[in-house]
Subunit: 336 residues, 2 copies
Amino acid sequence: MKRLSIKDIAKTASVSNSTVSRALRNSPLVNRETGELIRKLAEEAGYRSAAARSLVTRRTDTIGVVVTNISDPFVAGVVGGIEDAAEERGYSVFLANSNAEPAREMRVVRSFEERRVDGIIVTSSRVGALHVPMLTQMEVPLVLLNNQHPSEAAHSVMIDNEGGSYAAAMHLARLGHRRIGYIGDRNGHQSDAERRGGYERALAEMGIAYDAALVVKGDGKPEGAREALGQLLQLEAPPTAVFCYNDMSALGAMHEARARGLLVPEDLSLVGFDDLYISQYLNPPLTTVRQPMGEMGRLATHTLLRLITKEASSQIVKVPGELIVRASTCPPWEKR
Amino acid sequence: MKRLSIKDIAKTASVSNSTVSRALRNSPLVNRETGELIRKLAEEAGYRSAAARSLVTRRTDTIGVVVTNISDPFVAGVVGGIEDAAEERGYSVFLANSNAEPAREMRVVRSFEERRVDGIIVTSSRVGALHVPMLTQMEVPLVLLNNQHPSEAAHSVMIDNEGGSYAAAMHLARLGHRRIGYIGDRNGHQSDAERRGGYERALAEMGIAYDAALVVKGDGKPEGAREALGQLLQLEAPPTAVFCYNDMSALGAMHEARARGLLVPEDLSLVGFDDLYISQYLNPPLTTVRQPMGEMGRLATHTLLRLITKEASSQIVKVPGELIVRASTCPPWEKR
DNA sequence: CTGAAAGCGCTTACAG
DNA sequence: CTGAAAGCGCTTACAG
């Protein structure tokens, strides 16, 4: 069964290619009955070629999404939202992992360009930000999601890192904690600086002196956080609570605490950032700052689509986080 | 900066379009020096249009991947492997969520067809299997990954459900457990039947009588497993160990056990299936059967690529699972 | 409302 | 080794 083309349909409907093309695009320039007949035939018979269409329309109804690693649950959540929003509007999405390798990111972006995607979304990439110049020069609409580079001229969707972290640290301080640690991300992300900023503001507001020894660096993954918590626990006066850069770090910290025989939250309160799906099922369930991942993906897509259709669109949308209090935090005096 | 075409390069190199086209494809039919010059110009200047090329070559160097839900960590792991393998071979991947909705799955498959993908991979979809006839009729190469439908005529990559589950249940039985529960998946997946099969074979081999009351159904997610574990715990003689359909179910069971004040593994041993990234960090770390997700994705891609190039390829690849023993299981007599 | 014709940007026999 | 020409399958002025 050969792939049918517009021409075949034209033949069996005994009209011209032009008419078929119009009917398939629901053009008003075509007789109702003729149009319906053609559409019915097309439905049964086959489909048009997007390639041929794109060649003349110069649109592909396609967007490219570059992520550092689709296996990261935060990224996967965002991509889910992007795909949903794109599909709703009739767009298909190309997905490419950069693995945070600049060379690979360049490669995939070029392949996106060659495929003439109508727009590109870059997620959480430090690398990506370095290429903003290249990307903007390509003059393909671009939206950055949780961009990690301060100086961008691109449109972006960002979580309110500072505000969310402030809420997290305030929660801990109000519980009565005075020695509150922060396990950050050593990769020099802007988000790390912002989250630390919110943490510091909360401490200051609660009259807690900033202690540099309580601020250590993980890698955004469980392993790095385990080490980082180890450092914190070696302190003369170890923290009674730790705010972590993200849920994955909190997961590692929780694991490490358990390995050392500490109870969470009785011996150590822990707060994360992200609210991954699994976080509610941890033992204990994790107190964290929710990022609406799917929603952020949808937002980024809508922004991009507006860019593509040249509609006005806000340069940067900042999404608030939401503190979700669960069982990994409690007052320090419940200790022992 | 306008998008350059082959024609522009031809002009500045003062050769014909044909020559540029050949040089860009590294054809031996072109003078070395000329070729290099052209390639250099092209590198600086711009790129060819994949759409125009596809129109004549009838290939798009593109594959479509349909998943039920990219936010599922198992699926995300598989997609990561697919994307890696595809990128290596110069293919781009379209990603589409079906959300397990048949209508949406149809839609995305059609859009894949319209975009003339060279091949399609369908992951873990019960729905997908229903459309195998439609898909095969499209005569686009198709590979199913962990297909949930028994009667397919398509190529597929599957985990050895029966063998993995047998190993999991044997592990429990050898630890000394005699009352071993199974929390399955109520969605009627073939994988559920196979995993239960492995469980039953192990019991039989260890001389443990099969007790239907110990076999309950979850939904493959934490919530369903919580309920299911609740049922098991209401039994007169509740199980001392439970094998779960997947890690997400084990996560829910662990959460429910904790909520009821049971200690894992002392009061209840728990085994999962998948070995998600997070499973090693759970409290306690989860004993489970590892599915090499990324590897399976790569395998599916290689099979598909072979199909695309008409090379011979095995109809069905069965991947062995690996039992990973961690801290969520112990002998029953350690109880109390 | 409809059709003939040009053209989108490539690739590939065909003829040198 | 190179170029002119046809053609891939559509869309869209243009002319009825």
